[in-house]
């Protein structure tokens, strides 16, 4: 069964064509601050509850109210959960964008729109459903000031009828979404029903798209990456959180604080954690380093601008060898950039953050499950390596809603790394020094204040193996060489990449983070539509595992997928790969502020390979949405 391919090859513009089942994208275009998020999540959740794989992406402005916002829901029987460029069903509520949104639709699309917008003249190859939202909402919502919020549920009701979404599931989702807010639930349920009834009275039946029950979401949950990372930090035993509000990482810290307050209190109510909103990101990381130096498991979360500010302290953490967990939920830079849009734009600068010779371990979660597990693992790695470790999420992963299997409860104790105790000190005797490499792995034993063991003096200035101030050339070189050795050794216990080598494939794809899902879909496209078989390596960490070298060796061309302009991961690979392998690397880059999609990868790869729709690199499929694609 290949609904995905069917949807692409035969746009369902003919009413007589059999409906596309569970394989479409709905886009809701509203203004932000209009309260549409409830309706959007109810729609997403009701499809999910019907067992259909689904994903939701919010494209919102850096603003509180009044600017255009798009929420996109993709249902995919095949389980594709990355962004799809083509919109099949549009709900047009925003006068500002409605016309352009309609003009960019592929033929055969369905448009539900606010009647006064009068869109139906725009095209003849899409189906229009005008809806008098204001007239419908008035009777069910006597309070005029609430109508703006409540009327959103009307489009849910209409879509339920038109797409065969179970109204019971809609109601369940709504009750779940609004929880104990009885009045809001009542009003919204009424609006939902009004939409349902409206769509049942005199609207021509819509046969292009349908939702049918499946069993692909049993036992799964819907979760944002930021919440998943917060759960990871909670389970890692994080005791100190210091942070500064910034989109898109704020909700990670806020969610973690909520969990900490609930699950990390002594019977008398005292806290086994400290959460501090710092005065800026510099102070946030200073607190993390101070806490970790004094023995706590400490973390912060931020985004690109915060990473830039933390540069100074990251160098200190690296050189003085203090653990720290830093989650970077990447957004579009440079500078303020597009604060509410997604990118993988901090890879290179973060890997080498701060002045002097510095290198930092990066973890590269590619799913909400890995936001959970890698944030948890980051604490162990940071303590094992005694250095700041970065978890490189992005806005798409952090703030959007993703399906996931349940997260496993950690079965192993935490690893605090080489913390000196009396027994080890006795063994080492005079050999111990704060920065003495007694085991040859570049990692020394640390002590923490008040542990009763020899005190140390920590400094960001030059020091010798004993931790004493030193400007000697040999002390300096030995120290930074040891740091390089430590970093190099890290590649063996950072998470290994996922590798899928296909027999006979001469093309390899390397990707990381949220590019994973579109790469999977693109590989299917390449195989099924063009007969091109590819191998795939998904990076999970920097420094790179040896498997990456082997993968590059095994393929003629290796395409590195980056969601940034400068092919940052490819650049990092050029720095790190041994020998003359860089000639094999080719780059696929995407940097529009929107998540990368499969078709863009497929087209770019084929173009470079001299295959596929080369004559029209900006062919009909991608041209209509060029406005937002660049």
């Amino acid at each position: 069964m290949d609904n995905g391919a069917a949807a692409r090859d035969q746009p369902p513009s003919e009413p007589s064509a059999s409906p596309v089942v569970n394989e479409f994208t709905i886009q809701i275009a509203t203004v932000n601050g209009s309260g549409s998020q409830t309706a959007n999540l109810v729609l997403l959740r009701s499809i999910f509850q019907m067992g259909v794989p689904v994903s939701g992406k919010n494209m919102f402005p850096s603003n509180i109210a009044g600017l255009p916002t798009w929420y996109t829901i993709r249902a995919s029987a095949r389980g594709y959960i990355s962004r799809k460029k083509e919109i099949d069903i549009l709900v047009a509520m925003d006068p500002e964008t409605a016309r352009e949104d309609v003009l960019t639709l592929p033929p055969g699309a369905l448009v539900i729109y606010d009647e006064p917008l009068r869109l139906s003249e725009l095209r003849s190859d899409v189906t229009f459903v005008p809806v008098p939202f204001d007239r419908l909402v008035a009777p069910v919502c006597p309070e005029a000031r609430l109508r703006r919020l409540v009327r959103n549920l009307i489009y849910d009701g209409i879509l339920a009828r038109l797409l065969d979404i179970d109204m019971g599931e809609m109601e369940t989702a709504l009750v779940r979404q609004l929880g104990r807010k009885a009045k809001a639930t009542e009003l919204n349920l009424a609006a939902l029903k009004v939409g349902w009834e409206f769509a049942g009275q005199g609207l021509p039946p819509q046969r292009a798209f349908r939702v049918e029950r499946m069993d692909r979401t049993a036992d799964m949950m819907l979760v944002e990456g930021n919440a998943a990372a917060a759960m990871g930090a909670l389970m890692a035993g994080c005791t100190v959180l210091a942070w500064y509000p910034i989109t898109p990482s704020s909700s990670l810290c806020e969610t973690l604080i909520r969990y900490l307050r609930k699950y990390r209190r002594a019977p008398d109510g005292a806290c086994t954690f400290a959460a501090v909103q710092a005065e800026d990101e510099i102070a946030a990381l200073g607190m993390v380093l101070g806490a970790a130096w004094a023995g706590a498991r400490a973390m912060t979360a931020t985004s690109g601008p915060g990473i830039s500010l933390m540069s100074e302290f990251v160098g200190l953490g690296y050189y003085a060898e203090i653990p720290a967990v830093i989650v970077d939920v990447q957004r579009v830079g440079p500078s303020t950039g597009l604060p509410t849009r997604t990118a993988q734009g901090d890879i290179l600068s973060t890997a080498l953050l701060s002045h002097g010779d510095t290198k930092h371990p990066l973890l590269l979660p590619g799913s909400v499950g890995e936001c959970y597990s890698m944030t948890m693992d980051a604490f162990d790695l940071a303590e094992r390596l005694q250095t700041p470790v970065f978890v490189m999420m992005d806005l798409d992963l952090g703030m959007n809603t993703w399906m996931s299997d349940p997260f496993p409860y950690p079965e192993t104790p935490i690893d605090r790394g080489k913390v000196l105790d009396e027994a080890r000190l006795r063994q080492l005797g005079a050999g111990w020094g704060r920065y003495a490499d007694v085991e040859g792995d570049g990692i020394a034993y640390r002590t923490i204040p008040a542990d009763g063991l020899p005190p140390t003096f920590t400094r960001g200035s030059g020091h010798n193996a004993r931790g004493q101030y030193s400007e000697r050339a040999d002390d300096y070189a030995e120290n930074v060489d040891r740091l390089a050795r430590k970093f190099d050794g890290a590649r063996h216990f950072m998470p290994a990449p996922d590798v899928d080598v296909r027999p006979g494939a001469t093309i390899g794809i390397v990707a990381y983070g949220t590019s994973h899902f579109p790469v999977c879909e693109s590989r299917d496209q390449l195989r099924e539509e063009y007969g091109v078989e590819t191998s795939y390596l998904r990076l999970k960490a920097f420094p790179f595992h040896d498997a990456l070298t082997a993968f590059v060796d095994a393929h003629d061309h290796v395409y590195v997928v980056d969601q940034n302009r400068d092919a940052q991961m490819a650049a990092l690979m050029r720095l790190d790969l041994p020998g003359d392998r860089v000639a094999k690397l080719r780059s696929i880059r995407h940097y529009s502020g929107l998540p990368i999609d499969a078709r863009s990868i497929t087209d770019a790869l084929l173009r470079r390979e001299g295959q596929g729709p080369l004559a029209e690199p900006d062919g009909p499929a991608s041209a209509p949405s060029a406005r937002r694609e660049q």
Partner: protein, 339 residues
């Protein structure tokens, strides 16, 4: 026989490494007073952390309490590092050493927020009005009209770190002079007995770059313009000493740990618990070009940051896994809410 303190330790055990600062630097005198204060108070050095930023001042933690952990961090950022360390282990006694540039310029933001939080630590500013380690440029506490060695005149009014600290919420604010051994020692001991932010702005002349005629931080100038507010007598909780009191002339301040400070006013009666009086004093004396020294402001019962956070008694740093990793039921409950 050498004198020992209540822990049975001699003064020498509170010393640190040999100072590499200039001979005669005020900072060395301050290190000496820290050593004496910790000795006399019977402080357990293994439970002290010494923190600093960058600059001549920030080198000094290496010169006292070699039995304590030290952290010479980055320029102007000692406050955040100290904050984190105390969150990890709120039982530690933190002594932070900063300078007027480290605090008043690059670190003013973190200084402000540390004061605002009333973080329980001693924060000493070794205030010489200049950047010593980069050869004598003006710092933000340099007085209007004071001159560099080269003759350059400072044309900006100074930041008064004590006034800021009082305004912002620090609960123990004092000014002293590195040359006033007795007063500084009493203040440091009282500071060790206080729970909350202890900000001591110590005028500490730079003998190399700011001890000339025209400087308002030279030994001579500070000695001439220092106006002690009171004679300070600190009585620690573990000593049973009665201080002869003339009724009305001596104020008693009861500190957190049961220690007491007796303040005998030198000129006009001064009440260091009156915030407005403290601000008025600093404003008036600044206008007159005087340096009032002593305990400017104290609020013994103000809740400190760690108490406010309602932390468990044990240090967070050493809580066992079972106290910091919630049970599986917690994870299941969270996930159930996401289904």
């Amino acid at each position: 026989m050498e004198t020992t303190n209540r822990l049975g330790l001699v003064m020498a055990s509170y010393r640190g490494g040999k100072s590499t600062l200039c001979a005669g630097c005020g900072h060395n005198a301050i290190s000496e007073r820290v050593i004496e204060a910790c000795f006399e108070m019977g402080i357990d050095a293994t439970h002290v952390i010494k923190l600093s930023g960058i600059g001549c001042s920030s080198k000094s933690p290496a010169y006292f309490l070699s039995g304590s952990h030290g952290f010479n961090s980055v320029h102007g950022r000692m406050p955040s590092v100290a904050t984190g360390a105390l969150l990890a282990n709120h039982r530690l006694q933190a002594i932070g050493i900063s300078g007027d540039g480290d605090t008043g310029a690059i670190g003013i933001g973190q200084f402000v927020h540390l004061m605002r939080r009333n973080l329980p630590m001693i924060y000493i500013v070794e205030d010489n009005g200049c950047y010593g380690l980069t050869k004598g440029q003006f710092s933000p506490t340099a007085d209007l009209g004071s001159t560099l060695k080269s003759g350059v005149v400072n044309d900006l009014a100074p930041i008064d770190l004590c006034a800021m600290a009082i305004e912002l919420g620090a609960s123990f604010v004092a000014r002293s002079f590195s040359g006033d051994k007795r007063q500084l020692l009493q203040l440091l001991k009282a500071g060790l007995a206080h729970r909350g932010t202890v900000l001591i702005d110590v005028f500490s002349p730079c003998v190399t770059f700011n001890d000339h005629r025209g400087s308002t931080r030279s030994y001579e100038y500070v000695r001439d313009h220092e106006e002690p507010l009171h004679e300070l007598n600190f009585v620690p909780f573990f000593e049973d000493i009665t201080v002869e009191q003339e009724p009305g002339a001596v104020r008693e301040v009861d500190l957190h740990d049961g220690s007491k400070v007796f303040l005998k006013s030198v000129a006009a009666d001064y009440d260091p618990t009156d915030k407005l009086a403290a601000m008025r004093l600093l404003t008036d004396t600044a206008r007159r070009g005087e340096y009032p020294t002593g305990l400017l402001y104290v609020e013994p019962d103000k809740v400190d940051f760690c108490t406010q956070l309602n932390l468990v008694d044990e240090p967070l740093a050493t809580l066992p896994l079972e106290r910091v990793r919630p049970p599986k039921s917690a994870l299941d409950e969270i996930m159930e809410s996401l289904r």
